[in-house]
């Protein structure tokens, strides 16, 4: 009987040499004439242990990591195929504390199943949400989503049920489902992990969305920087089509749903939903004025549900297990779970899916294990390049949309980037403005011009003396207010968050060089 060994094909694991590890294991098995089946799974999200190899045993899966190609020979010698002891042995995967304490609903199958196998997906509870949805009316599906309390996981946190309801109620000959897979926020990678590790769950979520609102065509707008996700999605779409989960008659229900992957072209702004629609239509990714809402007049002028990958991938669980099951996780108005992505300067970076309500401290200290450099933590940027820099003194803030809004930040897409005390916060503030200038679509003046002026003012502050600094800081704060209040979309409207938070919490970094040399 063959022994199954799992070696991730996740892009992050590949970036650390997983391909060579898989090849070495296959070669080692041939050499020893052992019957080994290598499955290329997604990542479990314990990136400091990648490439993490797992072996299926009678008592469940056991893990080894981080495995380099050079370790493979010794793994065979230690009889890792039968859970043999080895310096890299991590024990049963499910017992790893970092993983065991998580509440994985959306990520339940990521790293567990073979993302290329529809059978594996079904064996692990896949397509139960769709089976339930096929017995419901569109209005009932939308009601279930509303009752679950699911809010958009892309960053804006808009209630998904309301979006779907608006689209359901819109009358049109054609409607669309669009998946925003333009995961451009730095420090985030949960969409990528889903698409690479469990692509069928996204397909299932989009199919349910199509049935709910009466849309027959879906697009996945995928960033060009994600070639591995593209391959996984295309393979999964082909399998789903072959098994009747996509096509003219979804599982014999008489309704069509087709899915297409469209590749973006490297513009951050296309993660903003109206820019994304412009891009899908073949134009410059410039923001549209709202109203009309995309749910009423979206892609090609038709009613469109546009949601982020994690949002859509959360739908099957809600339909399968019920709205109450999902809503019972979480706190306040933040219901369910959030896949948080630990990044930057941490000992144990990776994917942590937990119900809302745990604190930032638990994330960066308990899961993250503190800084990788061993130096004191100085700032945490939550929510991508437009998220606030949070000082160590605010680490007890709970992971909750409203709690973050209260401290002038946002959860966004759940990215958590940690910096140690070597960070120069004035440089980070400047970078935020520079990034906004590079990525601005150019449609509104506060963002297009404001960001460039922002870079200039910060440069003057850093180069100047105390008197100049006072004047220029007032100017910078005023400019930030103009951008906050006057920009058309979140890029210009939130780029001031990292700038203002750096100014508020780390003013010492903005002392001009003129003063620093004087003192």
């Amino acid at each position: 009987m063959s022994i199954t060994v799992y070696v991730p094909r996740d892009a992050g694991a590949l970036s650390l040499g997983a391909e060579a590890v898989a090849a070495a294991i296959a070669a080692g098995a041939r050499q020893r004439a052992v019957d080994v089946r290598v499955v290329r799974n997604g990542s479990r999200g314990l990136y400091w242990l990648e490439p993490m190899v797992e072996v299926a045993t009678a008592d469940g899966r056991v893990a080894y990591g981080p495995v380099r190609p050079a370790d493979v020979a010794s793994l065979f010698e230690a009889d890792f195929l039968h859970a043999g002891d080895h310096p890299l042995a991590l024990g049963p995967t499910e017992d790893i504390a970092w993983l065991k304490s998580q509440q994985r609903l959306t990520f339940a199958r990521v790293g567990v199943i073979d993302p290329r196998s529809l059978d594996d997906y079904r064996t692990h509870g896949g397509y139960r949400g769709l089976e339930a949805a096929l017995k419901m009316s569109g209005a009932d599906i939308v009601q279930a989503l509303t009752d679950s309390g699911l809010r958009g996981r892309g960053g804006a946190a808009f209630p998904a049920g309301i979006k779907w309801k608006t689209c359901l109620d819109a009358q049109a000959d054609r409607k669309y489902i669009v998946c925003n897979a333009d995961e451009g926020d730095s420090g985030t990678y949960s969409d990528r992990m889903i698409m690479e590790g469990d692509p069928f769950v996204l397909i299932e979520g989009m199919t349910i969305a199509g049935l709910a609102v009466g849309a027959s065509h879906g697009y996945i707008y995928l960033r060009v920087e994600y070639p591995h996700a593209r391959q996984a999605l295309q393979a999964a779409i082909a399998s789903a089509e072959a098994d009747g989960y996509l096509g003219d008659d979804v599982r014999g229900c008489g309704k069509p749903f087709r899915l297409e992957v469209r590749i973006a072209a490297g513009a951050y702004i296309c993660g903003e939903e109206t820019s994304l629609l412009e891009s899908l239509e073949g134009r410059r990714g410039q923001v549209r004025c709202k109203p009309p809402l995309p749910a009423i007049e979206g892609l090609f002028g038709k009613p469109t549900v546009i949601n982020n990958v994690v949002t859509l991938a959360s739908v099957p669980t809600i339909l399968d297990k019920g709205a109450a099951y999902y809503r019972d996780y979480g706190t306040g108005r933040s219901r369910g779970t959030l896949p948080l992505q630990l990044a930057g300067n941490l000992k144990r970076p990776g994917l942590v899916e937990r119900a809302f309500g745990l604190t930032l401290r638990e994330l960066v200290e308990d899961y993250g294990g503190g800084t990788a450099s061993g130096r004191p933590l100085r700032a945490v940027q939550v929510g991508g390049p437009l998220g606030a820099y949070i000082p160590a003194s605010q680490l007890d803030t709970p992971i909750d949309y409203e709690a973050f809004a209260t401290i002038g930040g946002m959860l966004g897409h759940g990215g958590v980037v940690v910096f140690d005390d070597s960070v120069d916060m004035a440089a980070q503030a400047r970078y935020a403005m520079e990034f906004c200038a590079i990525e601005s679509c150019g449609k509104c003046t506060p963002c297009r011009i404001g960001s460039t002026r922002g870079v200039e003012v910060i440069d003057r502050i850093v180069a100047g003396n105390a008197a100049a600094r006072e004047r220029d800081e007032a100017l910078l704060r005023d400019l930030c207010q103009t951008m906050l209040a006057g920009s058309l979309c979140a890029l210009g409207g939130m780029a001031p968050f990292p700038v203002l938070s750096a100014l508020d919490h780390f003013p010492e970094d903005f002392a001009g060089t003129a003063d620093r040399t004087a003192s």
Binding site: A11, G12, L14, S15, L16, G45, Y47, W48, E50, E183, G184, D185, S186, G187, T188, Y189, D191, R192, R223, V224, E225, Y226, P227, H228, R262, I263, A264, A265, G266, A267, S279, L280, E281, G282, R283, R284, G285, F300, Q341, L342, A343, G344, N345, P349, G350, A372, Q381, P385, G415, V417, V418, F419, D420, V423, Q428, Y431, F435, I438, E439, C441
Partner: protein, 171 residues
């Protein structure tokens, strides 16, 4: 009829460009919102979207040249000039910054002798900045073609570069 009249007004287009564009447009032009897929197709075939191809793309998709030019120039990924044989995308975003991307960036620029958007004198490498490769748990990151590297150090880059040059030298 209309097409013949338009064709007469098209400036001279190198034959390889004409063939590449027409092959791509014949396949993709009838899908809704075809311009981005078409531009990806042309860039994949020719390595860039040369100025000379713009009138033909515009004609095939029934767009104005200004529309097509506007889209090409908007997106960072599309290029009008050929790149080096390999394009190095080096991440500049926050997670990589927190793990030493700034020093890595200086090292890479100095090693290749180019700034961002530049191509080495021998035409081997083009260096491009990228704002997140989604490999933030393994920062700093770099992507060359579809090959992603994580936890890249200056020494790691040098080792990669040496291996690249060996491969290039043997082919």
């Amino acid at each position: 009829m209309k097409r013949a009249a338009n064709a007469a007004s098209l400036p001279d287009i190198p034959e390889n460009v004409r063939t590449a564009v027409l092959t791509v447009t014949a396949r993709l032009k009838d899908q809704p919102g075809a311009l981005l897929p078409v531009l990806h197709g042309v860039q994949a075939a020719l390595g860039c979207i040369p100025e000379a191809s713009v009138p033909l793309i515009a004609r095939e998709l029934n767009l104005s040249r200004a529309d097509v030019h506007g889209v090409i120039s908007f997106y960072h990924y599309f290029r009008s000039q050929p790149a080096g044989r390999r394009v190095i995308y080096l991440c500049r975003a926050e997670s990589c910054q927190a793990m030493g991307a700034g020093a890595l960036e200086k090292h890479v620029k100095q090693r290749l002798g180019v700034d961002f958007h530049g191509t080495t004198a021998d035409g081997a490498f083009t260096l491009e900045p990228v704002y997140c490769l989604g490999n933030c748990a393994c920062s700093p990151a770099m992507m060359v073609d579809d090959e992603l590297q994580g936890r890249l150090t200056p020494a790691g880059f040098d080792a990669w570069l040496a291996a690249e040059k060996t491969v290039a030298g043997t082919t």
